[in-house]
Symmetry: D3
Subunit: 222 residues, 6 copies
């Protein structure tokens, strides 16, 4: 019987949820896991500020408490509510940013992060330091596209590749992390353009959750 | 004209607030600053779990938004709401744990933390890593006293000194941090017993807030 | 169609291969993957010295070159031939020690290693430093049992638990790594005795190989 | 009754002393502290070489021993005599460079240092490593202006801003440290031009000394 | 009576051996040591891939076992067989890359490596991490010259100096390491052109071997 | 023609100088170098405090300036005057503590320091941090013998071995550094008793100075 995985986009945009799902499709077809993608219908339209991040923590927890699953994934690159959900739930919970950083650190010497907006960079750095991975961080650069730009692949994709080249050539990244939940569909084209591994955080989190279910470790106390 | 400082105990216990105030008294009498100590009347009776920490973040922010002051101090060793308040308020906000870690790291080669309960140690470590101070952490040990024990100085003080000796002699700490908002009154006796500097986080945060007002730096972007 | 995984025990002992297989059974039954366990019939009876480690590198590579599989796992905690196989083969290759260290570093703040013999500890440390994980290493302690002792669960299991307690209580490990390919069957009993996650390297490598096949990243250049 | 602070410029230039005093004026007016600024009349005209730094150590100590104060500040960015004075005096002693590095490390992720001459950069690095702050150092760049240039604000200020921009934009500094005792008056203009916090070491040391008097920790033994 | 040192070029090229010998000549004339330079006649024409590195490990060991000497040096910047030879021989064995990294780390704050080909950079990084010197690595850049170019000083020398300038000026290296066994003759010209210390690995290893013989430490167990 | 090395004991005790000379004898007989051992006749009877360390800096420099030699060694484990002499002299200058730390860091994973008095431990730590070797420091423990005890081998040697055992078995040191200029004669007995390498700082500095003369690098600028 397949594991059941519940992936929650904590913003209210069904379009974002749909993009996550499309980006993860090629991974999901290879895994024997039942995945439900959902959004937080009462959430903000996007998770952009620290207030957005913290405001959705308890709603994410409540949703997880009301949905039966073997493991839960928080589908936002700020991993809102991750520590809270882990302390309150007995089932395992994963953040897509954490999963992406951990995956990237195993794929090469140094990884670079492609962020949506510069304001999130200090938040990323805090999480990377918590994971002890700052020695593997080559750089974190933001796209600084407006909402319109992000939604238009004709604008977004060339910009992602441009920033990726800077991370690779100036900062020395040998691996890239897409700092967003909805860029997964671009992964093949970015890898083709840059010739280095590109980690999509949703894909990384799905596989990480699947791992955890299989290996079934008890929680560490520290 | 004196600066106005607002220090909020985010639990509902006026006794805790009062202990914080007594512990800070000898510092306050030397500073030209008007301090208001208050508690979050609707908060939990104590901040013990990750859920408590996150639940008070927005109430702390709301309280700060409704109180006029030059700077704000979050009076709980888990620094609940610190990132949120900093991102939302233009006035400076300080956490007592952050202030204590930063102070301790300047007073000797390695510092030890005396925690109330073991469950908070991973949370402390996350914050110490965010600050980049893990190289200066000698150890973190918990008192593991029940509530009764903590409130009884006949029980608490000898236990604090015992744990402090372990941090000093086994772990190599040359400085100690009191991992609680209400132990400040014990500082002189602990320092006398152990012969090394002991940082009370409330005292450290008050002085740090006063500094910030005087030096008046703009916010860093990262 | 299931992925095909080829796991090679580079010593000549079919008993070791069989122990690996039994230790991985509960993981394999949850994965849709065809696994072949095999040994290097011409290998040494055990991989104990640096000469053993290096002597089997090319035989491991040759075997992998002659066996069709989607991914390869080197089933020895010294990861003999790992760099060589990675540079020569286009299919992904995994070492069980590397997989165990990477897994352990994600399960808690600090991990401890239970080694068979003290002479392998410097070799472990070299690999941990290559991975950049030395900041998460709590300690590495050896069982120092003779061959007889290792093969007798009545002797081995209490000793593993004793060393695990030292790593947990003296060195501060919150996660343990079993530094051997054939201890996997003991994992549930060790976790029950110690109350912290215990990583079996063969299990960790199988899951890691499965991940890699699903996520299908290109090789990093550095 | 106000604390008495004695700040000694260890070179013989009263003009430098006066510049320090002007740079600290806006801080001093907010603190209830009596500050005496003085110079070492027999000191070298400037502290430029390692020999200058070491030659003034005992004269600085002698001066402090002959002047009654609650705390002492060594007003030179090479902190000459700091370890010596700390070991010989019971009252607290502060170096302006140490105070600036510690302050800067709390204001953002990475700090940059603006040095007067390149020859002092290795000396700065030694002190930053002693403090354990090398992980927070973005870069150290020198103005390489002659004496004439430094004394002429028309030349010095644009050059400081140019170097600050390189530290911010090329090296990734989110905070700057002015590596000189007499640039404090420029702080507001540099902050306005660059939009990030700028630490004047004299201001930082005054506040740090004031802190120490208020918090009154015993000396750490290590 | 002079110590006897045996330096083995593990490729089959007598021309490389001869270049090593010429590059070490000015060091050897100052040391009372009898040095034999030799090549592995059955080795590959050059050590370029991981397979080359590992293939010569046992041949290097066998050669050392058949030649009487007080200490042995592996004359290739990949240090092939170093761990193996150390574990099997009672006499001390040195790798030229290890010797160069250790020497470089004592000559300045940060060192840069000039590599022959980019593919060797991850291998260098692994060894630098094993030595714990990653904090002192400014950068590693490759010449990317063909074989023809490397053998022609008119092409090689200007390229080495160009790459050295990038390491010095862009990456902040204050010391350079020549990542090749046969560039020693260029050392004076490179130092003259760049004004910073340049470490030739063969020279560094000879002196390090001589040290070890004089100081005669027992082997460390870890 | 042999190099000339001048080794200065900066205290006034000819007995200390003589002990240094005896401890270095077996190294000197293997090197073609003319060594003069001398003491600072006007120095303090011992270098015990920070004031002693700094007071002899210029006398050490003056002595070096008045004595013709190819290289100079400061024969005291506090390396008094090292930075000063390096900046003022064109000939190379070495400190015995620096030489010992650098040597120890190459002999095993972690080194321990055997100090004469606890008060010097923070000074050692400052220098170890300057060298970037704190990651290799297992511990620093002091003998805490009085002067009488130190001079009596019947008392000193067993105590050194006892402390060495603690560093090896409790702190995990695989190499030891003798934190004193006059313990060299004990090195063989300590190594025999403990079975790990023991670095005598005078021996290490002599060999390091000899190296530098042979390799003849220009000074690094940073």
């Amino acid at each position: 019987m397949a594991y059941k995985l519940y992936i929650l986009n904590p913003n209210s945009s069904a379009a974002t949820t749909s993009a996550m799902q499309r980006g993860a499709a090629n991974v999901l077809e290879k895994l024997d896991v039942d995945v439900v993608f959902d959004e937080l219908q009462d959430g903000p339209p996007g998770i952009e500020t620290q207030a957005h991040v913290e405001a959705v923590a308890f709603p994410v927890l409540s949703r997880f408490q009301s949905v039966e699953a073997d493991a839960y994934v928080i589908g936002c690159f700020s991993d809102p509510g991750l520590a809270l959900c882990r302390s309150e739930l007995s089932r395992p919970v994963f953040g897509i940013a954490e999963a992406a950083y951990l995956e990237a650190s195993t794929l090469g010497s140094k990884f670079g992060v492609i962020s949506i907006v510069g304001a999130s960079i200090p938040r990323h750095l805090r999480q990377i330091r918590i994971l002890g991975l700052q020695g593997s961080l080559a750089g974190d650069r933001s796209l600084d596209l407006g909402v319109k730009g992000l939604e238009d692949p004709e604008i977004a994709l060339p910009r992602i590749i441009e920033i990726g080249k800077q991370l690779r050539d100036v900062d020395g990244a040998s691996v890239l992390v897409l700092g967003c939940a909805s860029m997964g569909v671009y992964r093949p084209r970015i890898e083709a353009a840059l010739g280095i591994p590109v980690v999509d955080p949703v894909q990384a989190a799905i596989v990480r959750a699947h791992n955890a279910l299989i290996l079934n470790y008890p929680k560490a106390t520290q």
